[in-house]
Every structure is written in structure tokens, then in C-alpha cells.
């Protein structure tokens, strides 16, 4: 669950003295949107995005990039003139959860990962985090999602997990979310099976309510 396991390690970087067209080409060729700016010793000093470059150039460059004379004048623009200095960074020892919270708060598309000495060691993007999250949800594997309503008291989740385990069913993931009724929780086990008929009956006989999947949202449970 650490950033070091999910980040991109072979990071493409630019020097602060590079011209903006070099950076633009690098990004286009590698289909990336963020370039950390480093000193020759690898210390991070800034970051430049494809958006920074687009904002620095007049619109016509994207329609006719071959206006040589003008391109010349813009090529005097250096990365150091348009980059974000001292960007928000995280440490490779941060967890994926840390990274999710930082990236959401910072409203950026990627975070450079730097060691304590300020040396760049990787970059983690929203894409990397999504990949990790898909992995956590287990949805890369075939399975069925159940939605169970349980009372918020000790031992309820154990009952659910025990019932599923007794059926010899593996878990892809299990999410627990708050529910719109007081003292209730919604539990979403993702079960790696097609065979859910018997476990559904069993959970009902144990007194759990199976929720209609149309009645909830992962990020915002509706109020009744």
C-alpha cells in the first residue's frame, strides 16, 4: 500500500534551461502531461504540465505549428519561466491512502515523489492511483457485488464474513459505508463467484437485509 509500489519509477524530466518546445515534444511523444524539472544532480526544483505550455503559447501554434519565425521567439521561453516552483511532493514511504488525500486536496493530476534529500525518485499520477484502486476493489477479477444492510454493533461484520467463508467463497474486496439510517451500515462484499443464490438466502435467514443495488451510491448514500 505504499506509493513506492505504485509510482512510475523511470521518470522523464527536463532541465530548467530547456526551451518549452522540447518539453512539449517530450510530453507528446510519451503521452504524458507532467514533467518534473530537476537539477543535474536529480534534485527536484519544479514541475511543468502540458497546460502550462499551452497557456504560454498563443492559440495559433496548435493550428499551424510551423510558423518558424514566431516559433523562434517563443523558443526563447525557458521551462524555468513557466514551471511551478517547489510543487507539492510526497515521500515514497507515503501510503496510497495518503496520496489519495493529498492529490484530492492539491487538485493536481500527479505528484512528484522525492526522497528526504530532495532527490526525485518517481511520480504518481491519478492514473496510477486509479489502477491501485481497481486492484483494491478486486474488480479486475470475475465476481458479484452484494449490498447488505447491517446494524452498527459489535460482531455483525463477523457474522457476514463467517457466513460467506463457510460457503467457500473468496472475497475480492469488502467495503463498509455509512448509511442514511442512524446506527446502520451498508456492507458491500465483492465475491469472486457466480454462485450467490445460496449465500443470499443464508444472509437473509441470518436477519440481514439485502439492499436494492439501485438505492445506493458508493460516494453518497441517499437520505430517506
Amino acid at each position: 500500500m505504499f506509493v513506492s509500489n505504485s509510482m512510475t519509477r523511470k521518470v522523464l524530466t527536463v532541465e530548467p534551461e530547456a526551451d518549452i518546445f522540447t518539453a512539449q515534444e517530450l510530453m507528446a511523444n510519451h503521452k504524458i502531461r507532467h514533467l518534473p524539472v530537476t537539477e543535474p544532480n536529480g534534485r527536484l526544483i519544479g514541475i511543468v504540465t502540458d497546460r502550462d505550455i499551452r497557456s504560454a503559447l498563443p492559440y495559433k501554434f496548435f493550428k499551424q505549428p510551423s510558423v518558424v519565425a514566431e516559433e523562434d521567439s517563443f523558443s526563447k521561453l525557458k521551462i524555468k519561466d513557466i514551471m511551478t516552483r517547489d510543487p507539492i511532493t510526497i515521500s515514497p514511504a507515503y501510503t496510497i491512502q495518503d496520496a489519495l488525500l493529498v492529490i484530492q486536496d492539491a487538485r493536481v493530476g500527479a505528484l512528484p515523489v522525492v526522497k528526504e534529500d530532495g532527490i526525485l525518485t518517481g511520480i504518481i499520477s491519478v492514473r496510477d492511483l486509479l489502477r491501485a484502486f481497481i486492484n483494491v476493489l478486486g474488480i479486475g477479477e470475475p465476481g458479484t457485488l452484494l449490498c447488505i444492510l447491517m446494524e452498527e454493533k459489535v460482531g455483525q461484520l463477523k457474522k457476514i464474513v463467517d457466513a460467506i467463508t463457510e460457503e467457500n467463497i473468496s472475497f475480492g474486496s469488502i467495503l463498509v459505508a455509512r448509511y442514511w439510517q442512524k446506527d446502520k451500515r451498508a456492507v458491500f462484499p465483492y465475491l469472486l463467484t457466480l454462485n450467490v443464490a445460496h449465500i443470499k438466502e443464508k444472509l437473509k435467514s441470518l436477519g440481514f437485509t439485502l439492499l436494492d443495488p439501485m438505492e445506493w451510491y458508493l460516494d453518497q448514500l441517499p437520505k430517506k
Binding site: G140, L194, N195, E201
Partner: protein, 317 residues
């Protein structure tokens, strides 16, 4: 005038045993038979008996190593294969070959003009089976193998597959996703909620096969009216363009409101409407040639009427 409809039924399909509490149980087939028999339809049908498939046809879809692996697992008495979902017994390999063979026999009779169409009541089902992996109660992909047979044995180019089982037929989709000669259409419960987690709207085939796979994911709670609307929007136009020369149907009845394997709420009448529309398309593009193959459907109480209505439509359009 009624159609010459074949009905593949063989007691041996009940020899594939799946243990206690397994929904894909032998009793499903007698339920299907009873519904057809009680309605007095047997006299109008041509009964087809199963014959084991020639391995050369199975190998048009499945990896030879996989076939050997399954055979070995059966003969050494394993009771699960690849996943705890796939409960098996020593006879499973032979019976799975018999399912493929029965479907190929029905296909042959339709393609040679002896029958107009056929319903194959087989076990184990097939549409989750991948090239080299058993999944979701399925070992050999009966429908996929039939599609290859139709192309190689009968020289027919364009095969259309309609899969209305409530679960997406991942195996069939993956087998043909790069193939523009086999159109795979599936309507099923949305993969976020239901097994196997594939069959999203944006899965449309790959490379040369792009545009020859189409998926209609249905939300939990949806039923007859939504299915009618979506099939008319998604299936009819693409088959009108593709003009399949034969239609294969993966017929799963597990989207029935009383089937507890899904949250889809189709009624018995809803299923009748669906097969009617598919039979109409077969009449229009494929000279009526249609082979329907049983996939899921686990409500022992509702299977008789579902099978009866299905066969009635095949007979009378």
C-alpha cells in the same frame, strides 16, 4: 405453417454432478423437459440425441492443453476445476463433450436443411468458458464451437450470436472479439453488480473485430419494458447491418424475476418476447436458421413454462 424444430435432450446430461446447494443442478433439465412434454409439444418436435464431439471441433476454440487438463482433473477425481464455482465429478469431461457434440448435431441438422431451428437443452453450459479456462459453471464453450463449426464445415461466413443470459458471456466475447465474421451481442445485468464483471458498453471488439461486439448492460431492477426498449435500440439495428447467415442463441433464463441469481426482473412473457424477436431476425436474414442453446436459468419452478414458451415460439414464430 409451423417450423421443423429440433429438440436436443439426453438423460446423460444429468450425469454431470455439481454437489449440494449448487444452482447448476441436474434437475434443471427434467424441468425443461416436463414443461415441453406437459404442453403436448413433444410430438411436434424432432428429438435429437447427443453424440460426443470430435475433439477437432473443440480445438477450434479451446487450447489442447486446457482440454487435457480438464480430462485429467476429471479422471483423477477432482471435484472443483479452476474455481470453486466449477463443481465437477468424474463424468464431467465426457458429459461436457456430449454437450458440445449435441449442439453440433443440432447445428448440422439445421445447416443441412433437415430442420429449420433447434433448442438444445444441454449441461454444462458454455458461455463463460474461455479458451484455456473454466469459469462460471462452464467448461467448453458450446456456442462458440458451434460458430466455428458453421464457418469451417458449412462454409458460411457471418454468424450472429445473441446472448440473453443474465450474466455476460465473457468467454464467447473474448473468443470472437478480434473476429469481424462473428457478431457477439449480449444483454445482461450490469457488470458492476453481477458476475463476471465484463460486458460494459464500451467493450466493442478489438482490431479488425471492432464494432462486431456489442453489450447492453441492464441495471438491477430492470425488466420487460427496459429489455424491449434496449433490444430494439441496440440489437435490431446492428443485426440489420450485419445480416447474420445463421443465428446462435445463448439462452439463459436466469434474468427471471423469480430466479435468485440476479436482480433483473424479466417475466415469463418478457422471455417469450425476446425469443420472438430473435426468431423474426432469423427469418429475415438467416432463412430462419437458428440454434438456441441453454446457458443459465436456475428456477426449477419457472423453467418448465420458460422452456415451453421458448419452444412454442421456435415452432410457430
Amino acid at each position: 405453417m409451423s417450423n421443423r424444430t429440433g429438440f436436443l435432450y439426453d438423460d446423460r446430461y444429468q450425469q454431470h454432478l455439481t454437489g449440494n446447494y449448487h444452482p447448476e443442478m441436474p434437475d434443471r433439465l427434467p424441468a425443461v423437459y416436463k414443461g415441453i412434454q406437459d404442453a403436448g409439444l413433444l410430438e411436434q418436435l424432432t428429438l435429437i440425441k447427443a453424440v460426443p464431439a470430435d475433439l477437432k471441433w473443440v480445438e477450434t476454440v479451446h487450447d489442447p492443453h486446457y482440454i487435457k487438463r480438464l480430462q485429467k482433473a476429471c479422471s483423477s477425481g477432482n471435484n472443483i476445476f479452476d474455481s470453486p464455482d466449477n463443481q465437477m465429478c468424474p463424468a464431467t469431461y465426457e458429459i461436457a463433450l456430449l454437450a458440445v457434440g449435441g449442439v453440433l448435431e443440432a447445428t448440422r441438422l439445421v445447416l443441412e436443411g433437415e430442420l429449420d431451428n433447434a433448442f438444445c437443452a444441454v449441461r454444462p453450459p458454455g458461455h463463460h468458458a474461455e479458451v484455456d479456462k473454466a469459469m462460471g459453471f462452464c467448461y467448453f464453450n458450446n456456442v462458440a464451437i458451434a460458430a466455428r463449426y458453421i464457418q469451417k464445415q458449412c462454409g458460411i461466413q457471418r454468424v450472429g450470436i445473441v446472448d440473453f443470459d443474465v450474466h455476460h458471456g465473457n468467454g464467447t466475447q473474448h473468443i470472437f472479439e478480434r473476429d469481424p465474421t462473428v457478431f457477439y451481442y449480449s444483454i445482461h445485468q450490469h457488470p458492476t453488480f453481477a458476475y463476471p464483471g465484463t460486458g460494459r458498453e464500451f467493450e466493442m471488439g478489438k482490431d479488425a473485430g471492432h464494432g462486431y461486439t456489442k453489450n447492453s448492460p441492464m441495471l438491477p431492477g430492470q425488466g420487460d419494458s427496459e429489455y424491449k426498449q434496449i433490444l430494439q435500440r441496440d440489437l435490431m439495428p446492428v443485426f440489420a447491418d450485419f445480416k447474420p447467415q445463421v443465428i446462435l442463441v445463448s439462452s439463459g433464463f436466469d434474468g427471471h424475476i423469480e430466479d435468485n441469481m440476479s436482480d433483473i426482473k424479466l417475466t415469463t412473457e418478457g422471455f417469450t418476447w425476446i425469443i420472438k424477436k430473435i426468431v423474426e431476425m432469423a427469418a429475415e436474414y438467416a432463412r430462419g436458421r437458428l440454434i438456441s442453446v441453454l446457458e443459465g436459468g436456475y428456477s426449477i419452478k419457472r423453467l418448465p413454462e420458460l422452456a415451453r414458451n421458448h419452444v412454442e415460439v421456435l415452432l410457430n414464430g
